[in-house]
């Protein structure tokens, strides 16, 4: 068992060592072509940003949708994780849920 652990440690060490000095492969496209593509993508991103600035209602719409979604999610989480009052009272008084409901006359509420 101990020998196997040592073997695994040695193999892992060798694995890292053998891969440590590995030089990265060359770029699949010429560097200048790549740079031109990057600049094009950046100009597109800049245009998109400018358009969004010019049409602030778009950003507003997106923010409103995100807020509605967040509120709905928050409500779901709160209702899911907050135990019913009856359950809390039942725990406190060592009663069953239905006993509390019956005693307090909350059936159907």
């Amino acid at each position: 068992m101990q020998r196997q652990t040592q073997d695994v440690d040695r193999a892992l060490d060798a694995l890292w060592r053998a891969n440590a000095g590995r030089s990265p492969p060359p770029l699949s496209v010429p560097l200048e072509v790549w740079q031109a593509n990057v600049l094009r993508a950046i100009r597109l991103a800049a245009d998109r940003g400018r358009r969004e600035l010019e049409a602030p209602w778009l950003a507003l719409q997106r923010t409103a949708a995100a807020l509605v979604l967040l509120a709905a999610l928050g409500w779901m989480l709160v209702t899911y994780f907050t135990p019913a009052t009856e359950t809390l009272l039942a725990q406190e008084a060592w009663l069953s849920h239905s006993e509390v409901v019956n005693v307090e006359g909350w059936a159907g509420e």
Binding site: Q4, Q6, D7, V8, D9, R10, A11, L12, A14, L15, W16, R17, A18, N19, A20, R22, P24, P25, L27, S28, V29, L31, W34, Q35, N37, V38, L39, A41, I42, R43, A45, A46, G49
Partner: protein, 198 residues
């Protein structure tokens, strides 16, 4: 003889880009592309380097407003590059065949050799690096994106826990825990392969 105009600093170029001069990003790109390409090429497959590195610069351009000048621009860019690599692996579905299949005969042989204490010196000199890369890739493909990035930065690239935490935007504790879990998994898989080989 007229003196050459001094090259604009990173800070000056960034200020121009922030003011709306997109062309000022080009010298920044030219100046820092080698660094970004080197980081990305060490972490993603060869065929994906160009696109991932492009993504790094687009992200940098889009979040330039959040850049604080107290830190060097190249450090900030390196963080974006490391996180982009992490996102690359997060988005790429783990190949099911990689998770299911074991090592082939030659790869197992490499692993078996690597365990021979007496052969360590010779192995370090003569190791078949391609096979070592295959075995490592086989193991890393089974880890999660976060585990993969953490162990490669820590063990292959030799970064400190603090550096990794800074690059990934994590706490040092999270780096340690992730590295520990990843190492534990790697050891388990290698042990199983060694048992299979013997």
């Amino acid at each position: 003889m007229t003196p050459e105009a001094p090259e604009a600093t990173d800070a000056e170029l960034i200020a121009r880009v922030r003011a709306g001069d997109v062309n000022a990003f080009e010298p920044l790109l030219t100046r820092h592309r080698e660094q970004v390409l080197a980081i990305v090429a060490r972490h993603v497959p060869a065929g994906e380097v160009a696109e991932t590195a492009q993504d790094v610069f687009v992200r940098a351009f889009q979040s330039l407003k959040g850049y604080r000048a107290e830190r060097p621009f190249n450090h900030w860019l390196a963080r974006i590059a490391v996180r982009a690599c992490c996102d690359f692996w997060r988005h790429r579905q783990r190949a099911p065949e990689a998770a299911a299949a074991g090592l082939n005969g030659e790869q197992q042989e490499w692993l078996e050799q690597a365990t021979q204490a007496a052969a360590q010196e010779a192995f370090a000199r003569d190791t078949d690096r391609r096979r070592a890369a295959e075995v490592l890739e086989w193991a890393l493909a089974r880890l999660s994106a976060a585990e993969r990035m953490t162990v490669t930065l820590l063990h292959r690239d030799g970064y400190s826990v603090r550096d990794i935490a800074r690059q990934l935007g994590w706490t040092a504790t999270r780096v340690k825990v992730t590295a520990f879990r990843a190492r534990h998994k790697l050891r388990g898989w290698l042990a199983a392969e060694l048992r299979r080989a013997r």
